[in-house]
């Protein structure tokens, strides 16, 4: 099969076999392309879908993006089971094998440095949510259709009292949430080899209840992961109205850039 080359990740050579039923982004099973001291994990993708114009259009198609992102993740996840991959950003495409080789050669030193930094480590995602949505509740005069209706105030004074109570409760919850998230982030960062903050997720996109106030990624050694996970778990019941979610282990996507995640 001809076509372009889609590159998932760069690794050190590894002995184990890759899970056999991996589909790859366009249904072509990923294979290893060794060059020097590094291995690129690639599969063939059709020019019709992955040339610049086509790719640009596809990336705006949510179904296509979803399928491609999940296929990419499945390959990287399979690699994580046998080695420490350095994942590439979605849709990194080359014309042919020699294009991939040239890239490996040009960036060899940087790849080695990053692979050394990530070696034996995984990424954990930790998100903190405020369960109630204070912004919504603080504006009872314009309640969203989905918000539970507060008891109807019978007088102006009632209304003001109710309003004040809500505002105070919300301020409380907010400052507690902020304090909680900051404290948790500090404690987790201390235990991790790197930390990175992602932008809080839009609840309309995530479908998650509540407001996302912390969306962080931590780089953690595999053999320290059990302890790390327990630490996150222990905080889960600490604060009423605040929810903690853990995802992972991920390949170290958030720490793949040069110079990221260093210094702690």
């Amino acid at each position: 099969m001809t076509g372009l080359r889609y590159v998932y990740a760069v690794c050190r050579p590894f002995g184990a076999a890759l899970q056999s039923q991996l589909a790859g982004v366009a249904g072509d099973p990923p294979r290893l392309l060794p060059h020097g001291d590094l291995v690129a994990v690639v599969s063939h993708v059709p020019q019709a879908d992955f040339a610049e114009e086509a790719l640009r259009a596809h990336l705006e198609d949510l179904d296509w993006l979803t399928a491609t992102a999940r296929a990419h993740q499945q390959v990287v996840d399979a690699l994580t089971a046998v080695t420490t991959p350095l994942p590439l950003r979605l849709a990194t495409v080359f014309r042919d094998d020699s294009g991939v080789r040239v890239m490996l050669e040009e960036r060899e030193a940087a790849f080695r440095r990053t692979l050394d930094r990530l070696d034996g480590r995984v990424e954990w995602g930790v998100k903190v949510y405020v369960e109630a949505d204070p912004a919504q509740q603080a504006e009872p005069e314009r309640p969203a259709a989905s918000a539970p209706a507060a008891p109807k105030p019978v007088s102006g004074r009632d209304y003001l009292r109710q309003r004040r109570r809500q505002t105070r409760a919300n301020d409380d919850l907010w400052s507690r949430a902020e304090e909680f998230a900051t404290g948790l982030h500090t404690r987790l960062s201390d235990r991790a080899d790197g930390a990175r903050l992602h932008a809080p997720q839009n609840p309309r996109l995530s479908g998650a209840a509540g407001r996302n106030v912390l969306n962080a990624a931590y780089l953690v050694a595999r053999d320290a992961s059990e302890e790390f996970v327990e630490m996150v778990d222990r905080t889960k019941d600490d604060a009423p109205g605040i929810r903690v979610e853990l995802t992972g282990p991920w390949a170290a996507y958030s720490f793949a850039g040069e110079g990221e995640g260093e210094g702690s």
Binding site: V7, A51, H72, Q73, R89, H198, R204, E226, W250, A256
Partner: protein, 60 residues
């Protein structure tokens, strides 16, 4: 050890990593997905599909 729940990975968590993480290499096909405008995904499509709770195409 605490059992880590292995729920299906949420698309947003995945996109946080695949579109804002990973090594950025300009391949032969130049597309600056970089941190730019998140490929101008049709957010309306994203929102409505999340709301409709569309199951993953992989069913896993």
């Amino acid at each position: 050890m605490t059992v880590v729940e292995r729920r299906e990975i949420a698309l947003v968590d995945l996109l946080d990593r695949l579109l804002a993480g990973g090594v950025v290499i300009t391949g032969d096909v130049t597309l600056r997905i970089a941190d730019v405008d998140l490929v101008r995904i049709d957010l309306n499509a994203l929102i409505s599909s999340v709301n409709r709770n569309v199951p993953s195409p992989f069913g896993d």
